[in-house]
C-alpha cells in the first residue's frame, strides 16, 4: 500500500521527505528486504563487496555471506545473535568509523534474527536511493515531471508560471510576495543583470515616466540584443569552466592565444546558439568544425591548469597525467551534468551512482586531449598568400643583387676596412647575412646585409658588449629567402660559464627544427667546439682543445660542397677536419637561430654567454679569408654605409624596391593573420593509448581496460560508446559530446536552467549549481525547476527565451524591502518573498565605473588588455599588478588578460575567483580590505577624476556651477537627484575638497555597490 502511494507523489517529494525525517525505521517505507539492502549498501558494501572485499568478506550476496571472511564464517543460519557478524556490529567494531545508530542496529538485528537470506545476485549499491546515498532513481536523474494543473488560481500577481510556483511556495509558508520595485530599481536591476552595465540617468527618467509592461518588454528586448549581454553572461560561464590564461603550477607560462575561447563564448551567447550545440562545440568543436570557431570552442577542455614541469621520474609523470584527467573529467561532468564524476577516481563515488568504471570511461573519452596551439587555416587566403610570396621573391632577388653590388663597390673603394666598418677588400666575400649585436638595442635585430629580421625570445638585457644569452633566451630570424648549400658560419662569442654543455651559438635550421647545422659548444665533449647536426648525422669530433678563454673568441665552421667540414678558432684550424656530406636548405624553408642549438627551445640547447657579432656566408670561404675575418673584430658589413657610395638613381631604385617589399610584407602579414590564427586549444594525441581502471587511483595498479564511454547510471544501460579501443581522439570526443547532449536531457536542462536562475537571483533553485548529487542542495521549487527545464527543451534550448521568461515575471520585479514576516519565516529568502539584496560583482563595479566616468572603450573581442607586468625569473612567470591602469585597460573586465596566481588588487578583494578550479558560485564577502581598495585603489581616483572632468566640462568654478556638478554626479552614479540634506552636505564637501572627493564618496556608497 505504501509503495503505490509513494509513486503518487513526484519523486522529489518522497526523496526530500526521506532525507529530512529523523529515524531510519520511520523514514523508510521499504519492505524489510529493501530496508536491509539499503542498510548494507549504505554502511557495509563500500568495503565488503566487489572483486577484492576487505577481509575477504563479501556481504553483497548470499554466496559471499556463506563464504565468510578470511578468518572464517561470520554467520550461519540459525546462529542469530551469536554470529560473528552481529558481535562485531554490536560491539561497535564495525563499521570502523561512523558507527551504526541504534535504529540501524535494530534493522540489522531483526534481519539476522529472521534468518532471511540475501539474494544470489549481488546487491547493486547504486540501485536505490537511501538515507546514505543517491541511487539510479535519484531525483536529478529522473525524467522531468510533467506539469501539474496550476492551482494558484486567478491572482493578478501571477504573470507566468514562475510566479505561480513561487506564490504556491510562499502561501504554503504563510508569506506574501513583496510589491513591485520602483522603476529606477527595476531598470538598474535588469540592466546590470542582463548586461553588467547600468542604465543612464535619462533612461531612468524615461522609464519612470512610462513604466508600462510594454515599455519594460521593449527594454528587455533591447538589452538581450545588445552585445553587452554576451559579454556579461560569458563572464558567468568563464567562472564555471575555470577559464584562465596561464598554465598555473611552477612555470605559470602565459597563454597569449587563449582569448579565442572567451570570444567564442561571447559570440555564441549573443547569437543565442542552442545550448546543446554550445555544449557539443566545447567538447568536440575541432571535430565538428575544424576551423577557427571549432578550435576556439574546444579550448574549453584545456582552459584549466596544466603542469609543464613534471620532473624526471615515471611516477611523477603518471600522477601528473592522472591529475590532469581528473581535472578535466571533473570540470566537464560538473559544468554540463552537475555531477561530481571526479570523486570516482580512487573508489566508487561515495554518494552518487557513479562507478570507477564510469569515471575511467569518461577519462578514456578525453585521454587523447593534449594542451597546445593550433592554426586555423583558410585555403583561399593561403592561395593569395602564395601569390604574394612569389611577387616578393622577384623583388627581393633584385634587391639582393643591388646590395651585393653596393657592398662590392664599397669594398673596392674603402681602403681601411677595419677602421671603417665595411667589408674588407682582402676577403672579397660578402656575407649573405650578418648581425652586429654591439649596436644599440633598437638596431640589433636586423641583419645588416640583407635586412632579414629576427625576434628575440626570453630575457632581454641592454648590454653594449653584445647579446646576453642567459640559458633561457635566443634569437630567431625570419625565413631565409634563398637556397643555401655550401656555407661558412662565423661568430665572435664569449662562453660564460665554460662548463656549460650543448648550447648552440649559430644554427641554420629548417623551420620545424628537424634539420640543422650549427656551431655547438661542449655537447659531447666538455668545452669542445663541434659542428652540431640533427641526430649527430653530420657531426664528428674535431678533436680540438677544450675552450679555456671566457672572453671573445672567433669561431668559424666551413661546410664545403664535397662534404668536408672544417672548424677554425681565432682564424686557425681547430682540430681536424672531416668528410661527411653537405646538407642543403631550401629558400624560405630555413632560418637562423642564435643562442639555441635547434628548436623547439628547451633542455640543454640554450647557450649561455655573450654573442658579439655573427656573419654567415653562402659559400665556403678560404682559410685566408677566415683568418682575415678573425683578425678584424671591428669588421662588419654595413649596407647603409655602402649605399652612401652609390649613385642617386641607384639609390632611388633601391628605395622603390624597399617600399614595394614593405608594402608586400604588410599585405602578407595581414593575410597570414587571417589565414592562420594561432589558437590555444586541444591538440590531439595521435595515439591516446589504452585506459585502465586504476585500483584505489594508484598509477601503478592497473586493473581492467575500459573504452571511451559515459556514466552508466545516466542511461540505465552499459554506456560504452561502441568505439574501438584505438579510436582517434576526435572520434572519442564526438561520441562523448553526443552522449552528454542526448542521454539525459532532463539533467542537462535542469542544470543549465538552474545556473541561469542562480545568476538572476543570486541563489539557484538548487543552491549547488555544480552538484545535483546527494551531497548537493535540494531544489526549493522542484516543480518550477522541471517546468523551466521542460520549456527550455521545448523552445530549442535558447537561453534568451529563458531570460525573457524570468525577467518578465512578477517574481523578478519585486522590491527588495525587508518585511517582518518575511525576515521571520525565511530570512535567507529561499522562497523569494522579495528580490534579494545583492552586492555587485567585481566586474560590474569596475565596468560601471568606467561607463559612468565616460571612459569605457567598447571594443569587442580580440586579445585581452593587460594590467600586469610580466616578469620571468628563471623560467617562472610572475604577473605583478601594474601600479596604475593605463587607458588601453579601460575595457570591460571580461577582456582582462586573466593569468592564474597573482591577480588584480581590486577584483581580488571583490571576490572574483582565481581560475584554478570551476567556480559555480562566487564567495560573497564583506571585508575591511574591500573598503580600503574601494577607497584607495588608484583606479578609483582615476575614475573620480574622469567623471568630474566629464560633468564639469570646460566650465569654471562657481557656486552655481558646483551645484550643477553635484546634481550631475548624483544623477550619473546613483541615477537620482540629491535630496535637500544630501545637497547641503555635498556642497560643503565640494566647497572644501573639490568635486572629486564627492565622486570618490559616491563610488563607495551602498546605493552604488548594491543591487536593489
Amino acid at each position: 500500500v505504501f509503495r503505490s502511494k509513494l509513486f503518487a507523489f513526484p519523486c522529489w517529494f518522497w526523496i526530500s521527505a526521506l532525507l529530512v525525517s529523523v529515524a531510519w525505521s520511520e523514514r523508510v517505507g521499504f519492505a524489510g528486504e529493501g530496508e536491509i539492502h539499503a542498510l548494507l549498501a549504505g554502511r557495509c558494501l563500500e568495503c565488503h563487496s566487489g572483486g577484492v572485499p576487505q577481509g575477504g568478506l563479501d556481504l553483497s550476496s548470499s554466496s559471499g555471506l556463506a563464504k565468510g571472511s578470511d578468518s572464517g564464517s561470520v554467520w550461519e543460519l540459525g546462529q542469530g545473535l551469536k554470529s560473528t557478524l552481529w558481535r562485531v556490529v554490536e560491539s561497535g567494531e564495525m563499521p570502523p568509523k561512523a558507527k551504526l545508530t541504534e535504529d540501524e542496529k535494530k534493522v540489522l538485528q531483526s534481519w539476522i534474527e529472521s534468518d532471511a537470506p540475501l539474494p544470489e545476485t549481488p546487491i547493486d549499491r547504486f540501485k536505490i536511493t537511501s538515507a546514505y546515498r543517491a541511487g539510479y532513481d535519484w531525483w536529478a536523474l529522473r525524467p522531468l515531471a510533467s506539469a501539474r494543473d496550476p492551482h494558484w488560481g486567478e491572482d493578478p500577481w501571477v504573470r507566468n508560471e514562475i510566479d505561480g510556483y513561487v506564490l504556491d511556495g510562499l502561501r504554503a509558508r504563510g508569506l506574501n510576495p513583496n510589491g513591485p520595485a520602483t522603476a529606477r530599481s527595476l531598470l538598474r536591476r535588469v540592466h546590470l543583470d542582463l548586461t553588467g552595465l547600468p542604465p543612464s540617468y535619462d533612461e531612468v527618467v524615461a522609464f519612470e515616466q512610462d513604466p508600462s509592461d510594454a515599455a519594460y518588454r521593449a527594454i528587455v528586448e533591447r538589452l538581450l540584443a545588445s552585445p553587452a549581454y554576451g559579454e556579461r553572461w560569458a563572464r558567468h560561464w568563464l567562472d564555471v569552466v575555470r577559464f584562465g590564461e596561464s598554465d598555473g603550477f611552477e612555470r605559470n607560462y602565459p597563454r597569449p592565444n587563449g582569448w579565442h575561447y572567451r570570444d567564442w563564448v561571447i559570440r555564441a551567447l549573443n547569437d543565442d546558439v542552442a545550448y546543446d550545440d554550445f555544449v557539443r562545440m566545447q567538447i568536440a568543436g575541432d571535430g565538428i568544425e575544424p576551423n577557427e570557431s571549432g578550435y576556439a570552442a574546444a579550448s574549453f577542455l584545456v582552459a584549466g591548469i596544466h603542469n609543464t614541469v613534471v620532473g624526471s621520474s615515471d611516477r611523477m609523470k603518471r600522477i601528473a597525467r592522472q591529475d590532469e584527467l581528473e581535472e578535466k573529467v571533473g570540470t566537464l561532468s560538473q559544468a554540463f551534468l552537475g555531477l561530481t564524476a571526479q570523486c570516482a577516481r580512487c573508489h566508487e563515488h561515495k554518494y552518487d551512482p557513479i562507478s570507477m568504471e564510469s569515471y575511467y570511461q569518461l577519462a578514456a573519452a578525453i585521454q587523447g586531449v593534449d594542451h597546445g596551439e593550433r592554426e586555423s587555416r583558410d585555403p583561399q587566403i593561403e592561395q593569395r598568400e602564395r601569390e604574394r610570396m612569389q611577387a616578393r621573391q622577384v623583388w627581393s632577388d633584385q634587391a639582393m643583387q643591388l646590395d651585393q653590388c653596393a657592398l662590392q663597390l664599397a669594398a673596392q673603394r674603402d681602403a681601411a676596412p677595419v677602421e671603417r666598418p665595411i667589408a674588407p677588400t682582402a676577403t672579397g666575400a660578402t656575407p649573405m647575412a650578418a648581425w652586429n649585436f654591439e649596436l644599440p638595442n633598437d638596431q640589433r635585430w636586423t641583419d645588416t646585409v640583407g635586412g632579414l629580421r629576427a625576434q628575440f625570445h626570453g630575457n632581454q638585457v641592454d648590454d653594449p658588449r653584445g647579446l646576453v644569452l642567459d640559458g633561457q633566451s635566443y634569437l630567431a630570424s625570419d625565413p631565409i629567402p634563398i637556397d643555401v648549400g655550401a656555407k661558412t658560419l662565423t661568430a665572435w662569442v664569449t662562453v660564460d660559464p665554460l662548463d656549460q654543455a650543448g648550447g648552440g651559438v649559430v644554427s641554420l635550421q629548417t623551420l620545424n627544427g628537424a634539420t640543422f647545422d650549427a656551431i655547438v659548444y661542449g655537447e659531447r665533449e666538455p668545452a669542445q667546439w663541434m659542428a652540431g647536426s640533427d641526430g649527430f648525422s653530420r657531426t664528428q669530433s674535431f678533436q680540438g682543445p677544450a675552450e679555456s678563454v671566457s672572453g671573445p673568441v672567433h669561431l668559424a665552421i666551413r661546410y664545403e660542397s664535397d662534404g668536408t667540414i672544417t672548424a677554425f678558432r681565432n682564424g686557425a684550424p681547430y682540430g681536424q677536419s672531416y668528410s661527411n656530406r653537405l646538407q642543403s636548405f631550401g629558400a624560405n624553408q630555413a632560418q637562423w637561430l642564435f643562442g639555441l642549438r635547434h628548436g623547439p627551445p628547451g633542455g640543454n640547447r640554450f647557450f649561455r654567454g655573450l654573442l658579439h657579432r655573427v656573419a654567415m656566408f653562402d659559400s665556403a670561404l678560404s682559410d685566408t679569408e677566415i683568418e682575415q675575418l678573425a683578425g678584424a673584430r671591428a669588421l662588419h658589413w654595413d649596407l647603409r654605409h655602402a649605399w652612401t657610395l652609390m649613385s642617386e638613381s641607384d639609390r632611388e631604385l633601391r628605395e622603390q624596391i624597399r617600399a614595394s617589399l614593405v608594402q608586400i610584407d604588410s599585405e602578407l602579414a595581414a593575410l597570414r593573420a587571417q589565414a592562420k590564427k594561432k589558437i590555444y586549444t586541444v591538440v590531439s594525441n595521435p595515439n591516446p593509448g589504452p585506459t585502465h581502471i586504476l585500483t584505489r587511483g594508484d598509477v601503478y595498479s592497473e586493473a581492467e581496460r575500459v573504452r571511451a564511454g559515459g556514466i552508466t547510471s545516466l542511461d540505465g544501460a552499459h554506456s560504452d560508446f561502441g568505439l574501438a579501443e584505438d579510436a582517434s581522439d576526435v572520434q572519442r570526443r564526438l561520441a562523448l559530446a553526443d552522449w552528454i547532449v542526448r542521454t539525459n536531457r532532463s539533467l542537462l536542462a535542469r542544470v543549465m536552467v538552474n545556473r541561469v536562475w542562480h545568476y538572476h537571483f543570486g541563489t539557484g533553485i538548487v543552491d549547488t549549481p555544480n552538484d545535483f548529487g546527494f551531497n548537493g542542495g535540494r531544489p526549493t521549487h522542484p516543480e518550477l525547476l522541471d517546468t523551466l527545464a521542460s520549456r527550455f527543451l521545448d523552445e530549442g534550448m535558447r537561453l534568451k527565451s529563458l531570460h525573457r521568461w524570468i525577467v518578465l515575471s512578477s517574481t523578478y520585479r519585486m522590491s527588495t524591502s525587508p518585511t517582518p514576516s518575511g525576515m521571520q519565516v525565511d530570512a535567507q529568502n529561499r522562497y523569494l518573498w522579495r528580490y534579494p539584496v545583492r552586492k555587485l560583482d567585481g566586474e560590474s563595479v569596475r565596468d560601471s565605473m568606467l561607463q559612468i566616468a565616460g571612459v569605457l572603450r567598447r571594443a569587442i573581442g580580440g586579445p585581452g588588455f593587460v594590467d600586469v607586468d610580466f616578469r620571468e625569473i628563471n623560467g617562472t612567470t610572475y604577473y605583478l599588478p601594474k601600479p596604475m591602469e593605463s587607458e588601453d585597460c579601460f575595457r570591460r573586465t571580461v577582456y582582462r588578460f586573466n593569468p592564474r596566481c597573482e591577480r588584480s588588487p581590486l577584483l581580488d578583494v571583490l571576490d572574483c575567483p582565481d581560475p584554478s578550479a570551476t567556480a559555480p558560485r562566487r564567495a560573497n564577502t564583506t571585508t575591511p580590505l574591500q573598503a580600503l581598495s574601494l577607497l584607495n585603489n588608484p583606479f578609483v581616483f582615476q575614475m573620480s577624476d574622469a567623471l568630474v572632468g566629464r560633468v564639469r566640462g570646460d566650465s569654471v568654478g562657481s557656486s552655481a556651477e558646483d551645484d550643477r556638478v553635484i546634481q550631475q554626479l548624483f544623477q550619473q552614479v546613483l541615477l537620482r537627484l540629491p535630496n535637500d540634506d544630501e545637497f547641503v552636505t555635498a556642497r560643503e564637501l565640494v566647497r572644501q575638497h573639490g568635486a572629486t572627493a564627492l565622486a570618490r564618496a559616491l563610488w563607495n556608497t551602498n546605493e552604488f555597490l548594491i543591487l536593489e
Binding site: 603550477f249 621520474s313 575591511p928 572627493a997 564618496a1001
Partner: protein, 483 residues
C-alpha cells in the same frame, strides 16, 4: 519578540566576514572555536569535546625554507654517512630525485654536537638556533610526495600538490578567525629577494571565501596594498569623504529598512579605518629596544631582512594575528641561488642562507619564550623536502652539491602543547630514507589543527561535491610529540 521588529536571523557578524568564525559552508560540518572553547555545529549536534582537544595554541608562526634544507647537514646527524664518505650507494633502484645524477656518498660539511639539557643534536650550520635546542621538537622522519619544488611547496602548504587548495593559514583563519578585528587573520612576509615559486598560490584561500587569503605585508612605506591613497590628498579631505560615505549610507539604510548586507558594509569602513591605524603601528619596529633589535639582528646587514620580519612576526602575533608565515628563500633557480636549493654546493649555499636566518629565528624563539608567548604560540620551521646523502655529480665523484630528497627530511616545531627538546622518528644509517615512524604533511597538518583544538576530520568546507579537508582523507595526529 515584538512583531514590528524584523528579527535578525543572521547575526551581524555572519555578514561581516573578517573576524568571523567560518560560515557559509552549505551542508558542511564546521567546527567553531571561540577563545579556546570549542563547540560543534551542523551534522554533529551532540558532539562533545574530549578534554584532550582543549586548544593549546592560539597563534602560530611558520618559517618556510624554500628550496629544500639538507637534513643531513642540520638536524639529522648521520655518523654512518661519515663512515661511508666516498663510497657508492649500492642500489638498483632508480630513485625519484630531480636531476637523476647519483654521485658518491658525501658526509656532512658541518660537525654535530649535543645541545642544551636535552642533548638534542644540531649541527654547526645553525649555531644560534642550537642555543635554543631545549625548546625544539624535531621531526626527523618527514616524507613527501614530490621531488619537484612547486608541487612539494603546495603540498607543504595545503596538503595538495595542485593550485587551488587553501593553505594551512587559510584553514585556521576559516576555522578560528582573527583574534583582532583590525588585523587580518593570516599574514605573509616574503623573503626580501622575492616571492617563492607559485607566488600567491602558496598562501591561497583556494575555494574558501577570499578573506581567508594570506595578506602580504611588504617592507617599506606601504606595507599593505591600498591601505592609504597613493594620490596626494589631505587627511581632512579623506576624513570628509568618509563622513560623506557614512552619511549617505545611513540615509540609504533608513529608507530601505534594516538590512545586514548594508550594515555590514558600513561596519567594514569603520574596521578599515582602524586597520589604517593598526597596520602602521604594528609595522613600526623602531620603538623596539636596542636589546630586542640586537636579539633579532635587525641592524646587521646579513640578518636585517629576516630579522625585521621575525620581529614584525612577533608583533603581529602579539596584536592578534592568528597565523604568520615567513619565507626564507625567493625564486628557486639562478646563480647564485637565492634559496636553499643547494644543487651546486651545499657548503657555500647553506652557509650563506643560514647566515641570513640563524640569529633572527633564534632571537624569535628566545623573545617569545621571554615574553611568555611560547606557551600558546606554535613555531614551525619547515622545508618542502630534504637533500640526498649522495652528491649530485657523476657516479665516481663526490661533488659538492646534493639533489632533492623526498624520502626523508627534517622539520622542527616549538611552543604550545609540544614536548620540547625531543626528536620524533628516524632515518636510515645514511639519512636517505625514513627508517621508522614516517610522517607526512597530512600528519603535521592534523597535529597543527589538533594543537589549535580542532579535529582535522571535522574542519570541512563543501566545494564541488566534496567536503574538503586540509588533510584530504589522511592525517594522524602525532600524539607522541604532544606534551
Amino acid at each position: 519578540m515584538r512583531s514590528n521588529e524584523a528579527p535578525q536571523a543572521m547575526h551581524r557578524r555572519d555578514w561581516l566576514h573578517w573576524a568571523q568564525r567560518g560560515i557559509g559552508a552549505t551542508a558542511a560540518m564546521v567546527m567553531l572555536a571561540q577563545d579556546g572553547t570549542l563547540r560543534s555545529l551542523g551534522a554533529n549536534p551532540n558532539g562533545t569535546l574530549a578534554p584532550e582537544m582543549a586548544p593549546k595554541a592560539k597563534r602560530a608562526i611558520q618559517i618556510c625554507l624554500i628550496g629544500g634544507l639538507s637534513h643531513l647537514d642540520s638536524f639529522d646527524p648521520k655518523p654512518g654517512l661519515d663512515a661511508l664518505h666516498g663510497k657508492t650507494l649500492s642500489t638498483d633502484e632508480k630513485p625519484d630525485i630531480f636531476f637523476g645524477q647519483m654521485g658518491l656518498l658525501r658526509k656532512s660539511d658541518w660537525a654535530f654536537r649535543q645541545r642544551g639539557q636535552s642533548g638534542l643534536a644540531i649541527s654547526e650550520l645553525f649555531p644560534q638556533i642550537a642555543t635554543q635546542a631545549d625548546l625544539l621538537t624535531v621531526v626527523r622522519s618527514m616524507v613527501t610526495e614530490s621531488a619537484n619544488h612547486t608541487p612539494a611547496q603546495f603540498f607543504e602548504n595545503s596538503g595538495f600538490e595542485l593550485n587551488g587548495f587553501p593553505s594551512v593559514g587559510s584553514w585556521l583563519s576559516y576555522g578560528l578567525g582573527s583574534i583582532a578585528e583590525d588585523l587580518p587573520a593570516y599574514v605573509v612576509l616574503p623573503d626580501g629577494r622575492g616571492g617563492p615559486m607559485g607566488g600567491a598560490s602558496n598562501w591561497s584561500n583556494g575555494f574558501l571565501p577570499s578573506q581567508h587569503q594570506g595578506v602580504l605585508f611588504h617592507s617599506g612605506e606601504h606595507p599593505v596594498r591600498d591601505l592609504t591613497p597613493m594620490a596626494s590628498i589631505s587627511g581632512d579631505a579623506d576624513r570628509a569623504t568618509r563622513d560623506m560615505i557614512a552619511f549617505l549610507n545611513r540615509k540609504n539604510l533608513e529608507s530601505h529598512g534594516p538590512e545586514d548586507v548594508l550594515t555590514a558594509r558600513m561596519q567594514s569602513y569603520e574596521l578599515a579605518a582602524r586597520m589604517q591605524l593598526s597596520v602602521p603601528e604594528v609595522t613600526q619596529i623602531d620603538g623596539e629596544s636596542r636589546e630586542t633589535r640586537d636579539l633579532y639582528g635587525v641592524d646587521a646587514p646579513e640578518t636585517a631582512d629576516m630579522g625585521r620580519r621575525c620581529l614584525l612576526g612577533r608583533r603581529l602575533l602579539e596584536r592578534g594575528v592568528r597565523f604568520v608565515q615567513l619565507y626564507s628563500g625567493g625564486p628557486i633557480a639562478g646563480a647564485p641561488r637565492s634559496s636553499w636549493d643547494a644543487h651546486e654546493n651545499v657548503l657555500e649555499n647553506h652557509t650563506a642562507e643560514s647566515l641570513r636566518i640563524d640569529r633572527p629565528v633564534a632571537g624569535l624563539l628566545a623573545d617569545l619564550k621571554a615574553r611568555g608567548m611560547l606557551e600558546d604560540t606554535l613555531v614551525l620551521f619547515t622545508t618542502e623536502f630534504g637533500r640526498t646523502p649522495f652528491a649530485q655529480s657523476e657516479a665516481d665523484k663526490i661533488g659538492p652539491g646534493r639533489d632533492h630528497n623526498r624520502y626523508a627530511f627534517s622539520i622542527w616545531m616549538a611552543g604550545a602543547g609540544l614536548k620540547p627538546g625531543t626528536v620524533h622518528g628516524e632515518t636510515d644509517e645514511i639519512g636517505w630514507k625514513v627508517a621508522s615512524d614516517p610522517v607526512t604533511w597530512h600528519d603535521i597538518h592534523a597535529t597543527i589543527l589538533h594543537l589549535f583544538g580542532i579535529d582535522h576530520e571535522q574542519l570541512v568546507y563543501y566545494h564541488n561535491g566534496i567536503h574538503r579537508r586540509l588533510t584530504n582523507v589522511h592525517g594522524e595526529v602525532l600524539r607522541g610529540i604532544l606534551a
